[in-house]
């Protein structure tokens, strides 16, 4: 064990993970999720929350254990964040009741006024006939509508979560599309390395399934339409993959300066060794055909961790199940890991939980750390028709017990946002 002032290869504080929490369509909490994930259970189901008339896609990975009655995305995302955060902080044992000794970085979906509220205000403004925004605006000051503002402010969930856990300073709410959860972790790592804080709470939470969000992704042709049976729709790296499955969930990590964790006798669950990032300027929704940005992203993460491709023995894939992503990710990992790629298992948690969007990077970081802890790799389920263009060991259909000492977890998002994280079990 290293002494006080432990430093990484670049002379920076070592960043440990001392607590984790997770919520997905498989359930609430690490143990339930891990059991189902490694049993190859799918959380994808037919949507029961709203009518599905006219919808091309009728399935999702809904967080049904959390959703009750009608919850707008702000409320559901907040509850998911609180559940994941509670689990992480409780495991970490850090701070005291209502006080977390560090800042909050929280990845969240963007918010807006939801249709039920718009309709409610319109009914007051113009009971019959044409109702336009000027009419809605005219009556918006009526006190009964004030609570709607708590569902639309971009900073509101971060505010609640910061207040609940008593984190320090101004909470940072962020989005980098499907890389958001990883960005939240990365911001926390950077703050600890700068010496600004000894601990940080990083959360990604997404409860944004609504008719309109489903339509939006559907119109971009991003979603699987193989609705029946729902649990077989998400099939990353398969030849017959046809899009991702929208999902809800959240992941939370207590990240901490290793010295600080040791000093208080905390159990270290893993080390966040490196973060890499590279933006893509090719297209709004597609990645550069040469794969250069995602290759640079993974290489930046390796360089930040001070390790080489030969040191990685599992890839937690972004693996969305879209034709485009999986092809590009395969090309990317083949370039980064070279000939060795055929011997490195790479699996996609999304085959079981769907794409938790804003939360994905955090949820999958938690699963990567559980992979390290249990030395068991969750499978890529629904892998029955391999894609000859993707010659990867995708851990098809069945979990695998094997030695895993270092994981790279990828998150690639709309808008050319790419983040990769490197995690290990023990400090190097």
């Amino acid at each position: 064990m290293a002494g006080p002032h432990t430093r990484d290869r670049a002379g920076r504080p070592v960043v440990a993970i001392t607590g984790m929490g997770v919520v997905t369509s498989l359930g609430v909490g690490k143990s339930d999720n891990w059991a189902k994930l490694t049993a190859g259970t799918s959380g994808i189901r037919r949507i029961s929350r709203f009518p599905l008339d006219s919808m091309r896609t009728t399935i999702a990975g809904t967080a049904n254990d959390v959703y009750k009655n009608y919850m707008p995305p702000a409320e559901l995302s907040k509850r998911i964040a609180l559940l994941a955060g509670e689990e992480a902080i409780s495991e970490s044992g850090i701070g005291g009741k209502g006080h977390f000794p560090g800042p909050l970085f929280i990845a969240l979906p963007p918010l807006e006024i939801e249709w039920p509220y718009r309709i409610q205000v319109a009914e007051t403004a113009v009971p019959t006939g044409e109702a336009g925004y000027p009419d809605l605006t005219r009556v918006a000051r009526e006190p009964q509508f004030a609570p709607i503002s708590d569902t639309i402010r971009y900073g509101i969930i971060g505010e609640y979560v910061a207040a609940h856990f008593g984190t320090e300073g101004s909470p940072i709410s962020l989005t980098t599309a499907c890389a958001s959860g990883a960005t939240a972790i990365q911001l926390g790592v950077e703050a600890i390395r700068r010496g600004e804080c000894s601990a940080a709470l990083a959360i990604g939470a997404d409860g944004s399934l609504t008719p309109e969000s489903l339509v939006r992704f559907s119109l971009l042709s991003a979603l699987s339409t193989q609705n029946d049976p729902p649990e077989q729709a998400s099939k990353p790296f398969s030849k017959n993959r046809d899009g991702f499955v929208l999902a809800e969930g959240g992941g939370a990590l207590v990240i901490e300066d290793l010295d600080h964790a040791w000093a208080r006798g905390a159990r270290v669950l893993g080390i966040l060794e490196g973060c890499g990032e590279k933006s893509d300027s090719f297209h709004r929704t597609r990645s550069s055909p040469d794969g250069k940005p995602i290759i640079a992203c993974m290489r930046n993460a390796l360089a930040d961790a001070g390790v080489g491709p030969e040191d990685v023995d599992y890839i937690n894939a972004h693996g969305t199940s879209t034709p485009e992503n999986d092809k590009m990710e395969s090309l990317g990992v083949s370039a980064v890991f070279g000939e060795r790629i055929r011997g490195i298992p790479i699996s996609s948690n999304k085959s079981m939980i769907g794409h938790t969007l804003t939360a994905a990077g955090a949820v999958e970081a938690v699963f990567s750390l559980l992979t390290l802890e249990h030395q068991r790799i969750p499978p890529t389920i629904n892998h029955h028709v391999p894609d000859p263009a993707i010659p990867l060991d995708v851990v098809p259909n069945v979990a695998r017990d094997t030695r895993v000492s270092r994981v790279i977890s990828n998150s690639f998002g709309f808008g050319g946002q790419n983040v990769s994280l490197i995690m290990t079990r023990e400090p190097a």
Binding site: Y133, R216, F282
Partner: protein, 395 residues
């Protein structure tokens, strides 16, 4: 902790109702002419729209412009102005390691589609099914991308080739402060050499006014300076783009870039906005920076929004602190996410010209001190977002 490096502002991009670019904004502020505002188009609300303009200069491809809504066009355009001002536009060797922190609002609605749905729903037996059907057939597929907050950064990457790291913060004025704070801290600690930071906002829209009226926040009736909007006050929402290029001194000097100012301290805070909270928060932050303030040569540019009681609370504390005060929001309106970066940009112009701009309203007090060399820029957001930055003339 890593040794702190000096952080320079080497580029400013502004797009406001006063015009584009720091110099045109400055010349208006210096003259102190009444600001352009529009109290007719959205009556009874008062807003600060942009004068009609073409986006072609910074967003040459019409196909790119079509893929964006107004807030994104304003942001991408302004980011281009900042990159040009810093001398890094069109230089892939620099843009490749230019990091980006954007504070984004986003969420512009298709007002025609929403209105048709709201009205049509009333005539049908199954409104939920009607909603699905209309959304599936009427929403433009690309509208989603024009609504997503992180697609402002995405479009900046696409149009200007900024491809270092990219983060988008959300959370109104406070996120605008934190974007600058994190950008400054990363450079000071050696985690970045060069960062584009800022945001944009397009306030003169009915969907935005609707949102702000849920908290009775939009300015109605007669235009007045930020300080003088009566007991409840109000936000004169603006179209505003503001981006800064921040850079380590070493990196700037190595490429011969000149500093518009040095950004030495940035603080933000969270409070619950109980009575007295704003005052406590601002006092605490001002106490922290007080030892570094060169009181004979310093002034304050306030970010007060015009909402009450927040605006009066801020003024109370600023009066106690005792430096001359100006508020550019009276002239450029309130641009939420972009306000803090805009005020820092304006602070750099004040330092360059060595004097404050013309006062407007009762809270703009004090004469321009001689050899003005330091500006404290404050933020008090519409519901959260207390923060400040210290901008000093760079030698």
């Amino acid at each position: 902790m890593t040794a702190r490096r000096e952080v320079w502002i080497t580029g400013v991009g502004l797009l406001t109702c006063l015009g584009e670019g720091l110099e045109s904004v400055w010349s208006h502020l210096e003259r102190g002419d009444p600001p352009p505002y529009d109290d007719k188009s959205f009556a009874p609300y008062v807003v600060h729209p942009l004068a009609p303009m073409s986006f072609d200069k910074q967003i040459p491809k019409k196909s790119d412009q079509r893929q964006m809504e107004m807030w994104q066009r304003v942001g991408v355009y302004t980011a281009g102005l900042a990159l040009s001002d810093a001398g890094i536009a069109g230089k892939p060797e620099l843009l490749d390691h230019t990091d980006m922190i954007v504070d984004a609002g986003g969420g512009e609605r298709d007002i025609a589609v929403d209105t048709a749905i709201l009205s049509g729903m009333r005539k049908v037996a199954e409104p939920a099914a009607f909603l699905n059907e209309r959304l599936m057939s009427d929403l433009r597929p690309t509208l989603f991308l024009a609504q997503l907050p992180n697609l402002l950064a995405g479009n900046i990457s696409l149009v200007h080739g900024v491809v270092g790291s990219s983060r988008t913060f959300m959370g109104e004025e406070g996120a605008g402060v934190d974007a600058v704070r994190v950008a400054q801290a990363r450079i000071a600690a050696g985690q970045s050499d060069l960062t584009l930071v800022g945001g944009s906002y397009h306030g003169p829209r009915w969907d935005v006014l609707f949102s702000f009226e849920l908290t009775s926040s939009a300015l109605r009736g007669k235009f007045a300076p930020v300080w003088d909007r009566g007991p409840q006050g109000g936000l004169a929402l603006a179209t505003l783009g503001a981006f800064l290029v921040l850079e380590s001194r070493e990196h700037a000097q190595a490429r011969g870039a000149r500093p518009r100012g040095r950004i030495s301290e940035v603080y933000s805070d969270r409070n619950l906005r109980k009575p007295g909270d704003i005052e406590v928060s601002l006092r605490r932050q001002l106490e922290v920076i007080a030892p570094q303030v060169d009181r004979d040569h310093a002034a304050i540019i306030s970010g007060a929004s015009g909402l009450e009681p927040a605006t009066s609370a801020e003024l109370t504390v600023l009066k106690e602190f005792g430096l001359p005060v100006r508020n550019a929001g009276t002239y450029i309106g309130h641009g939420v996410d972009a306000q803090f970066a805009a005020n820092i940009g304006i602070a750099s112009a004040v330092l360059e010209h060595g004097k404050l701009f013309a006062p407007a309203g009762s809270g703009d007090t004090g004469e321009s001190p001689p050899a003005l060399s330091q500006i404290v820029v404050t933020s008090v957001g519409n519901w959260r977002g207390e923060g400040l930055a210290v901008i000093t003339r760079a030698e």
